[in-house]
């Protein structure tokens, strides 16, 4: 702006010579709604180079205006206006803001961005107005439930990352997580150290025509995250956000109370009634408590030296989990600099982030222990040698103990001190150079770095039962560290030119990324036979060449072609490289003559896309060549010849033929907007076919040096429909009411498999409940059909002879539902009335089934309630009332229940103070809000929480309900 002033001053000097038949036009430009002046508005004489901009107060002076000249007023986000000059002295112009949909126009598509209305693939853009509100402590939760087909499963442990599935995931044993890219840097260490307050937008690429540009990493979708940057505006903006919430347990696992337990033992294990105590302990009450979460974030945005938009933010989050001794603490600093030089020919973007996370990890074995522990026992025992906690034991010699039954769950938590801290530095530096003499060409170089250093100590008290070695007390003290480094170098050229009515945009480039990982564990330093070990992972190196061509014909017909050639260090040289093409066409029907002026349909775009992507992210870093493992000298795995103990040299199994998984996706979509975007949304139909599926499969006798390993085994199809809708019910000066709704249907099917079946879903020693089999959804439940008596109780051990061969054996197992949901829903509504705002969000899942392993592994007599050790009796989930099983009967459909759920995730109410504390600054506001997170769960499933990832409920860290109070202060 300053440069323009200078130019104006020069011009003014020449004014005296140019007054003839010309005048100066002055005036003010304001916003039509708020009547606030708008600075920086372009005021230009149409068809000339004569122009100016409005100043801080919205005022402008435009000299040398001739009568009849058309003056154009334009500013981003507003509809332009043209005024004819008729020698007015001054004019006041009121600009109208463009509707929201068209304002937030830019979506990241990988190595570039595109206007949402010009996107040819199935992409979703989530920005601040769409984010989930309320107590959000980690980044993935911002988008949970907001996009059709994107399912986020957030664990309950403080600081936990979330599992994200886009369109159900395309793999079995290879990773199903989408590729996450932060400011151009693909990261593999999760998002728990990123402060959600620093995120500006998520661009989610769902179909292969969009993700093929990420080739071997794009099969499960891509999430592109853009962090907040500084601003070009002159004034500095401060923002302070803070909230505090109380975390409480929503539901306990339903087990017997002490008195109910006494009745059960008397009836079913009468030989052990002597083991009943006189107390009434609720073990789950002992280990869970209400914790506190507090989150504060302060940021500054401005334009340093008027050339460098800068943003600096600091954040602090502290969470006290609902499980005692579970604590999480995170400090983050984020700096972003986006200066531009040489008149915007060289744009620099530097993002630097640092975070320090501190965790006290609770011993989660306490949850299982609390379910099984005898409720008639006391919590404390003054005579106990185990730190005063009551345990079941006998001292058969001084200091020598035999222990029985489950450990005291409170002791498991309190006698263990497992503390770790992680330092994470990540960021990138990007240079974008627009060639001076050839402005259609840009070169971009992006270098990124993600360094994680973690270390911790794990101490178990000397007198803890869980620290015993053999029959005596020992305790344990170990320390560990880990280092990992992810380095990226990307370079690409972009050429964009308008040839008449045809816009061409071509990008080509190269990407190099390297992952290193090393970790150390000291072993138990109190145990002389224990060994320390440094585990160095081999490097994973990924390189790729890519290109993309976008053609826009007449603003109506869009064509995108992309191609990527990807190489990975994971596979042998013959199988190392893969080719991943993609193509899409889109027809902006609403730009056609017959719809252009329609008032009903303001946006209609039809998209058809196809692409091939790959998957190479399997746990094995290099499975293709022969290697040997030597056991450690103190590992306990050595063998004596004579008196000398030899380490064991073991050949590792390998698979030379292991190669990429490839997924081909077809996508047809429709983006629409009606009544000036009062109702808008998109509808997509897709089909994904994955070939050469990588799965962890059983390798038979004499086929390899292991009994399980990764192999390419089959083909898999994934079909679905997605619908996302936005409806602005009310939009006026006083109030706004909007609804956002999305629903997705997804069906996954294994189409070919190289052998009959693979068993998965292990729920104990060699007991499997799920299967991979042709024609079935992956990991469908595969169990016996339980037979019931006329009263509805199962007849123990009686299963249907489904193949009628007179014998009941594994051939009689059948498919009984699956863990995948058929439909997933998300719903959000936002309502503003004057200064009040109200928001709520819901999610639902229909058709997902759950195997209740909490009951399946405990609710029976022999080796359940009646412990293997005759000196112990264990509590059981109340499912035992329905079954009365005398022993473990795991592989039956009796334990599989409908886990469909409807969750009311969030309710927030806030009030906005306009000019708080008498601050007169333009954009100052103070909002106070209160709300509840995890309000309500509606489900037929009787377990703790039906939102189980993978379908097997084996006790989870419970998700807390949070009641919060917070404020957003901007000034």
């Amino acid at each position: 702006m300053k440069t323009i002033y200078k130019k104006l001053l020069f011009l003014l000097l020449f004014l005296p010579f140019s007054v003839l038949a010309q005048g100066t036009l002055g005036g003010t430009v304001v916003d039509s709604k708020s009547n606030q002046p708008i600075p920086g508005v372009n005021v230009v004489i149409q068809g000339s180079a004569n122009g100016t901009q409005t100043d801080f107060d919205g005022k402008f002076k435009l000299p040398k205006v001739n009568k009849g000249d058309k003056i154009v007023f334009s500013f981003i986000g507003y509809t332009s206006q043209t005024v004819t000059f008729n020698n007015q002295q001054s004019i006041n112009v009121s600009l109208v803001e463009e509707s929201n949909e068209l304002k937030e126009v830019v979506v990241q598509v990988g190595y570039g961005s595109v206007k949402k209305k010009d996107a040819t693939g199935a992409v979703a853009l989530i920005t601040a107005k769409d984010f989930n509100k309320g107590a959000i402590t980690n980044t993935e939760n911002l988008i949970n439930g907001r996009v059709a087909g994107v399912v986020v499963t957030q664990g309950g442990r403080p600081g936990d990352g979330a599992a994200i599935r886009i369109r159900g995931g395309s793999s079995l044993n290879a990773s199903n997580q989408p590729l996450v890219v932060i400011d151009g840097l693909p990261v593999d260490k999760g998002l728990s150290s990123v402060n959600p307050n620093d995120i500006e937008s998520f661009s989610i690429l769902k179909d292969a025509s969009a993700t093929a540009i990420y080739g071997s990493r794009g099969s499960n979708g891509v999430i592109l995250i853009k962090t907040k940057k500084g601003t070009k505006k002159d004034e500095v903006q401060f923002s302070f956000n803070s909230y505090t919430a109380v975390n409480s347990l929503v539901k306990k696992v339903d087990v017997y109370s002490a008195d109910e337990f006494r009745d059960i033992v008397k009836e079913f294990v009468p030989t052990r009634t002597a083991l009943l105590g006189t107390n009434n302990t609720d073990w789950q009450d002992q280990i869970f408590h209400d914790g506190l979460t507090s989150d504060s974030n302060f940021s500054v945005r401005g334009n340093l030296f008027e050339t460098m938009p800068t943003r600096l933010s600091v954040g602090y989050t502290k969470i006290d989990g609902v499980l005692k001794t579970s604590e999480f603490d995170r400090k983050t600093v984020a700096l972003s600099l986006t200066p531009a030089f040489f008149d915007n020919h060289l744009k620099v973007e530097i993002n630097a982030n640092y975070s320090y996370e501190k965790n006290r990890y609770a011993n989660e074995g306490a949850i299982g222990s609390a379910i099984a522990d005898n409720p008639t026992l006391p919590v404390y025992d003054a005579n106990s040698p185990f730190g005063g906690y009551a345990e079941t034991y006998t001292e058969f010699a001084p200091g020598q103990y035999t222990i029985y039954g489950p450990a005291n769950p409170l002791a498991l938590l309190e006698q263990r001190h497992n503390n770790g801290g992680t330092n994470r530095y990540f960021g990138n530096a990007q240079l974008e150079y627009k060639f001076h003499f050839f402005e259609d060409l840009r070169a971009v170089v992006n270098g990124g770095l993600d360094i994680n250093k973690n270390e911790g100590t794990d101490v178990t008290d000397h007198d803890a039962r869980s620290g015993m070695k053999g029959t005596g007390l020992l305790g344990s003290s170990s320390n560990y560290w880990g280092n990992s480094e992810n380095k990226l170098l990307d370079g690409y050229l972009n050429y964009a030119h308008l040839f008449g009515n045809v816009k061409v945009d071509f990008t080509t480039g190269y990407s190099y990324q390297n992952f290193e990982d090393e970790s150390y564990s000291s072993g138990n330093t109190l145990d002389p036979t224990s060994e320390s070990d440094i585990n160095t992972q081999p490097t994973v190196n990924l390189q790729a060449y890519y290109a993309r061509l976008n053609v826009d014909l007449y603003g109506k017909y869009l064509v995108t072609l992309n191609y990527r050639r990807d190489g990975t260090s994971r596979f042998s040289e013959q199988n190392r490289w893969g080719d991943f093409p993609g193509a899409a066409v889109a027809w902006k029907v609403s730009e056609e003559k017959f719809l252009k002026d329609s008032k009903t349909i303001n946006d209609l775009k039809l998209r058809v896309g196809w692409g091939v992507t790959g998957q190479q992210d399997i746990p094995a870093k290099y499975d293709y060549f022969k290697r040997y493992n030597l056991s450690g000298v103190k590992s306990g795995a050595t063998y004596p010849f004579g008196d000398v103990y030899y380490q064991l040299g073991k050949p590792e199994g390998y698979n030379e033929t292991l190669k990429w998984e490839e997924t081909t996706t077809y996508n047809v979509g429709l983006d629409f907007g009606f009544f000036n975007n009062k109702l808008s949304g998109s509808l997509d139909f897709y089909e994904k076919i994955t070939t050469d599926l990588i799965a962890q499969v059983k390798e038979g006798a004499l086929q390899n040096f292991r009994t399980e390993g990764p192999a390419n085994i089959g083909e898999f199809t994934n079909k679905g429909i997605e619908l996302g809708l936005n409806y602005k019910a009310i939009e006026n000066d006083n109030s706004n009411l909007s609804f956002n709704f999305n629903v997705a249907y997804n069906n996954r099917d294994i189409t070919t498999l190289d052998r009959n079946e693979y068993f998965t879903g292990g729920v104990g020693l060699d007991v499997y409940t799920q299967i991979l089999r042709e024609g079935l959804s992956p990991n469908s439940f595969w169990v016996y059909q339980q037979i019931y008596n006329p009263n509805g109780m199962p007849i123990e051990g009686a299963y249907a002879d489904r193949n009628g061969d007179g014998a009941v054996n594994s051939a009689d197992k059948y498919e009984y539902h699956k863990p995948d949901a058929d439909y997933t829903f998300g719903f959000m509504t936002n309502y503003n009335y004057k200064k009040w705002d109200f928001s709520m969000a819901w999610r639902a899942s229909v058709g997902n089934y759950i195997y209740d392993n909490v009951s399946g592994s405990r609710a029976f007599v022999s080796q359940g309630i009646s412990d293997n050790n005759p000196n112990a009796i264990n509590n059981s989930p109340v499912d035992f009332d329905n079954s009365h099983f005398s022993q473990k009967r795991a592989e039956i459909d009796y334990y599989i229940h409908d886990g469909s759920w409807l969750k009311w995730d969030n309710l927030t109410i806030g009030y906005l103070f306009d000019k708080p504390f008498g601050l007169n600054a333009k954009e100052s506001s103070l909002r106070l809000y209160t709300g509840i997170q995890n309000v309500l769960i509606i489900s037929k499933y009787k377990g703790m929480d039906p939102e189980i990832f993978g379908g097997i409920d084996s006790t989870i860290y419970p998700r807390a309900r949070m009641a919060m109070l917070g404020l957003n202060f901007n000034f």
Binding site: L630, Y646, Q863
Partner: protein
């Protein structure tokens, strides 16, 4: 001009970028970086590697992975204890007989007690995987230790001579596992070092494998070390002859051809060797210090263990813990596992349970119980013969080095067995087997057991069968013996819970063989199932 200049510059920039980046594609050839893992070239560059590889194959009988007692398993998808070699073999040879019964209810385990197992039985599957894992490792060792390979790695003449002996020992270990496999399963998957890794193996029947094993065991005799001259734990010529003798003795069962004469010849060679019956009390053979010289003289092939250095949840960890109740202090271990007991018919082979009339009977009963077992599972406190044969205490009464994992070795083959094999042939009237000598051998064992002496007239096959139980019980022989004597299937001998009936019932012939695990048949179309399963 500007346009050409810009195109030229673009071109050079592109070339430069490509040059820099293509040189990086070599970065995708990665290598192991961890100090415990080596590419095979690096591994074999160290001359110690051959012995370490051989140690792995020996250890395959004793441990279950690269970390003891568990943590880095060789076999995935199976509990490490269940997948241990000796424990798995023992369960399949003992639980289906009168000698033992297990009280635990782990899925498919009780089936082994009562002859109701199916082709999905987890313990059958676990042992099959483990036995063939051993054979696979042996094949690989033989591929990597050929003379050509050693020469190409620059091995010295001493190393080559050493490796020649290793090769013979590894062939023995492979033969041992094939022998166990045909004894339990009949027909088996078959591959040698001539076959390639990754190829699905063919199936061979008992007769083919029997002939192959006889050839193998004879061929390695020349390279194996002379009797009692090898490091303790490694096999010698007599060990190979032991397996050969077992094959010949059971030949009627395996091949329908009687080879008792060949058996006798081999047995005589073993008896003529420097091995001798240990002059220690019987119980010392199963104590924590059973690797002392005094005991070593009798042990032809041990599976060794050590409380801190050779740990597993099988072998003697299992043998000491599993039959133990709350008398663990006596045996020098942490708490018992309340699992294994003996059955009534086995107990009745002894004069009484006090051990006074035959010190080999190390038994007792819990107060108020008898040897009778009332129900099929969870019966440990309510019945069954309690056995205290294996212990983690030394002969001096000192507990072993670790209360969780005994130092006690497992005597897989011992001379006492050979004496009884001789006596068996004499009792069957095989030409060249002298009944006088046989009675002498039996009495030598009975002297050690402080049991009464026998006379020639008592030397009958039934007596030998019973004496084998008295001398060799819980050492993994019973099922093989019962089948050989024709007392396993059918009604000729009934014992408690045989055939899933408390008083004992007949079992079909199909149960003389274990089923080929269904999961193995699923992975290899060359394999077929045993009849009846």
């Amino acid at each position: 001009m500007k346009k050409i200049k810009s195109i030229k510059i673009k071109f050079f920039v592109l070339i430069g970028l490509i040059a820099v980046f293509t040189s990086c594609t070599n970065d995708m050839n990665v290598f192991p970086k961890d100090d415990d893992v080596n590419s095979s070239e690096k591994f074999f560059a160290d001359p110690n590697s051959y012995k370490e590889f051989m140690a792995k194959i020996y250890a395959g009988l004793a441990v279950t992975g690269q970390a003891g007692p568990s943590g880095a398993p060789d076999i995935q998808g199976i509990d490490e204890g269940f997948g241990q070699y000796v424990r798995g073999y023992w369960q399949l040879q003992e639980l289906c007989t009168d000698e033992a019964m297990v009280a635990w209810g782990d899925p498919t385990l009780p089936e082994l007690n009562v002859h109701t197992w199916t082709k999905d039985n987890r313990f059958v599957t676990a042992f099959y995987s483990r036995a063939f894992y051993q054979i696979g490792l042996a094949n690989e060792f033989l591929r990597e230790s050929t003379d050509d390979k050693l020469t190409s790695r620059g091995a010295s003449a001493e190393l080559k001579a050493e490796v020649k002996v290793f090769r013979a020992e590894v062939r023995f270990l492979r033969a041992l596992s094939y022998y166990h496999a045909i004894d339990l399963f009949g027909k088996v998957a078959f591959a040698t070092e001539e076959d390639k890794v990754g190829v699905k193996p063919v199936e061979k029947d008992r007769i083919f494998v029997f002939d192959y094993l006889v050839k193998e065991l004879k061929a390695i005799d020349a390279d194996l070390k002379a009797a009692r001259t090898n490091e303790y734990g490694r096999v010698d010529k007599i060990g190979a002859k032991m397996v050969l003798a077992k094959l010949y003795l059971n030949s009627s069962v395996y091949t329908n051809v009687n080879r008792d004469t060949e058996a006798l010849a081999t047995i005589n060679e073993i008896i003529a060797s420097p091995y001798s019956i240990a002059k220690v009390p019987y119980s010392n053979l199963f104590m924590a210090d059973n690797d002392r010289a005094a005991v070593q003289s009798e042990i032809i092939f041990p599976v060794r263990a050590d409380g801190t250095r050779t740990q597993s949840w099988g072998v003697t960890t299992y043998f000491v813990h599993a039959p133990c109740g709350d008398w663990n202090g006596e045996l020098g271990i942490t708490g018992g596992w309340f699992g294994l007991v003996g059955r009534t018919e086995f107990a009745n082979l002894f004069p009484d349970l006090s051990g006074l009339a035959d010190k080999r009977g190390m038994f007792f009963l819990l107060p108020g119980t008898t040897t009778s077992i009332p129900v099929v599972t969870d019966f440990f406190k309510s019945g069954g013969l309690k056995v205290k044969k294996y212990s983690n205490k030394t002969s001096a009464g000192v507990p072993g080095s670790d209360a969780n994992h005994p130092d006690t070795d497992f005597p897989m083959f011992r001379l006492a067995d050979v004496y009884l094999m001789y006596a068996e042939l004499a009792a069957k009237g095989v030409a060249g087997a002298s009944p006088t000598k046989a009675v002498g051998y039996v009495n030598e064992l009975r002297t050690r057991a402080v049991a009464g002496q026998i006379t020639e007239v008592m030397l009958t096959p039934q007596f030998i069968l019973d004496e084998r139980a008295r001398e060799l019980y819980w050492e993994g022989h019973r099922r093989q013996d019962l089948i050989r004597f024709g007392k396993y299937a059918g009604t000729s001998y009934l014992w408690e819970w045989k055939g899933n009936v408390k008083s004992g019932a007949t079992i079909e012939d199909k149960y003389k063989l274990f089923p080929i695990p269904q999961s193995e048949i699923n992975t290899n179309p060359n394999l077929t199932q045993n009849p009846g399963y």
